[in-house]
Amino acid sequence: MQLIPCPWCGPREETEFHYGGQAHVAYPQDPAALSDEDWAKFVFFRANPSGPLPERWTHSAGCRRWFNAVRDTRTHDLLAVYRLDEPRPVIP
């Protein structure tokens, strides 16, 4: 269990949150133009790095708002937490 810093509520216990998977996965701009391979990439393929991963969380037992975080998948350390309308921070 670790503390996750909600951008609106501050640090809260992990059990208050739900995980939403990889962040910044945009819906295709022109769906009709997509090939089967492109659809497969959009629907099934997600980044799965051993290292920093931008991902979505929702503070479901608090403000119930979604936000993004960059988390190191090796250590579970949250390297950055930012709002959905903010760009992905550059992690040194």
Binding site: Q2, T15, Y19, D36, A40, F44, R46, S50, T73
Partner: protein, 410 residues
């Protein structure tokens, strides 16, 4: 279960079972990953196909990843024909494996109960039992009284939050001793000439004209005619070295054991709904598994609240465990596919073969996938049992949706 003292049927601790060679400059086949699947693949390559110029490369120590971290449950009661094919093939190999390897693996066919706690659970379970029967797999539906008869310590009171309404029962299912399984395969493979190379991490995969040619490792470059990936949780990382992506997310999967207890638990009990699965190891520990931690991770540890939920489920099902002490907890890293079925077969790179995506269910498949994957590597085309589990099913849409029978929440 035998009324003998706990541990009485364990063999003596083994002496050295295989050599520890330095890597040669080249091999016919390089297997990446020295866990159960990698060792089994190397063994069947040598034994069935006569390909013995083989190296198994392991970044840590042999079978120190998921093979050392699972809950050792073996069963074949999956829903779809494709899964039944490969898991039942595996179970049949388990049934003769001790003789085949000439090594004790303590395979104990004590049966598995998959509990149902709601009306839809019951319907799904009965459907799966009938599907199993059509595939020639032993399965039956038992009601709550039947559960009590098979495993008297299960709480079948109707007064709990999620009462046990019944279970699927596969009598031929069971457990094996995971370390011994790995050591048995390692010993037999080494005896056939396979080089088992530990402390050798793959850092790059070389290709030329769309063919794999070599792997770069922390112990130098090793040329390879063929490369077989058996890297489980780290498959995405390894595949990226060869230039392609996989539809996988790696998650921590936690398990734990109690202190040693007298024999109290005669079978394997799994519950998908309240989520815990329990058996009693040969030595006497209660072995319990949880669902995966929700987030992606490679850290081989998970969050404590998952264990808390798992314990709550275990105590409701088995009030007798209330005073058992927790001995230790751990996590493996499982690579989960969108349809909860594995990916076995060819890749976009010629002579590079893929075995991954077993998620939470890889241990039971060890001999079966070893045999089928060795065939795939040796012949350059999928074994019939592996054929449905292609990488391109995520493009064609021919998924094998086993979320219901995978039995671990993910």
């Amino acid at each position: 279960m035998n009324p003998t003292a706990p541990g009485a049927d364990l063999p003596e601790h083994p002496d050295f079972l295989w050599d520890n060679p330095d890597p040669k400059r080249s091999y016919d086949v390089v297997v990446v990953g020295g866990g159960g699947h990698g060792l089994a693949t190397a063994y069947y390559l040598a034994k069935v196909h006569g390909i013995t110029n083989v190296a198994v490369l392991e970044k840590g120590w042999l079978a120190g990843g998921n093979m050392a971290r699972n809950t050792t449950i073996i069963r074949s009661n999956y829903l779809w024909d494709e899964s039944s094919g490969i898991y039942e093939h595996s179970l049949k190999l388990w049934e003769g494996l001790e003789e085949d390897l000439g090594y004790p693996i303590l395979f104990s066919q004590r049966g598995v109960l998959n509990l149902a706690h709601g009306l839809q659970d019951v319907r799904d379970s009965v459907r799966r039992v009938e599907a199993n029967k059509l595939n020639g797999i032993d399965a039956e539906w038992v009601d709550a009284a039947g559960v009590k008869e098979i495993c008297p310590i299960v709480n079948t009171s109707p007064d709990v939050r999620y009462p046990v309404l019944g279970a699927t029962y596969q009598p031929r299912a069971g457990i094996a001793k995971h370390d011994y399984v790995a050591w048995g395969f390692a010993r037999a493979a080494a005896a056939l000439g396979v080089d088992l190379i530990q402390d050798c991490e793959v850092t790059g995969i070389e290709t030329a004209a769309g063919r794999v040619t070599a792997v770069d490792t922390t112990r130098g470059r090793i040329a390879a005619g063929k490369v077989a990936l058996c890297a489980a949780g780290h498959s995405s990382v390894v595949a990226k070295m060869a230039g392609f992506d996989l539809p996988l997310v790696s998650h921590p999967l936690q398990a734990l054991v109690s202190e040693l207890l007298e024999p109290v638990h005669p079978t394997v009990v799994m519950s998908n709904a309240v989520h815990v699965y329990v058996s009693q190891a040969h030595k006497g520990e209660l072995v319990m598994g949880a669902g995966i931690d929700s987030y992606a991770g490679y850290g081989q540890r998970g969050a404590f609240h998952i264990i808390e939920d798992q314990m709550a489920a275990a105590l409701e099902l088995f009030p007798v465990f209330a005073r058992a002490h927790l001995l230790r907890t751990w996590a493996g890293i499982v690579d989960v596919t969108p349809d909860a079925s594995p990916i076995v077969g060819l890749t976009p790179v010629e002579n590079l073969y893929l075995n991954c995506g077993w998620g939470t269910g890889g241990f039971k498949a060890t001999p079966g996938v070893g045999d089928c994957f060795a065939h795939t590597v040796a012949k350059g085309k999928p074994h019939p049992y592996a054929e449905p589990f292609t990488l391109d099913r995520f493009t064609t849409g021919a998924l094998v949706d086993e979320h219901g029978a995978a039995a671990v929440a993910h």
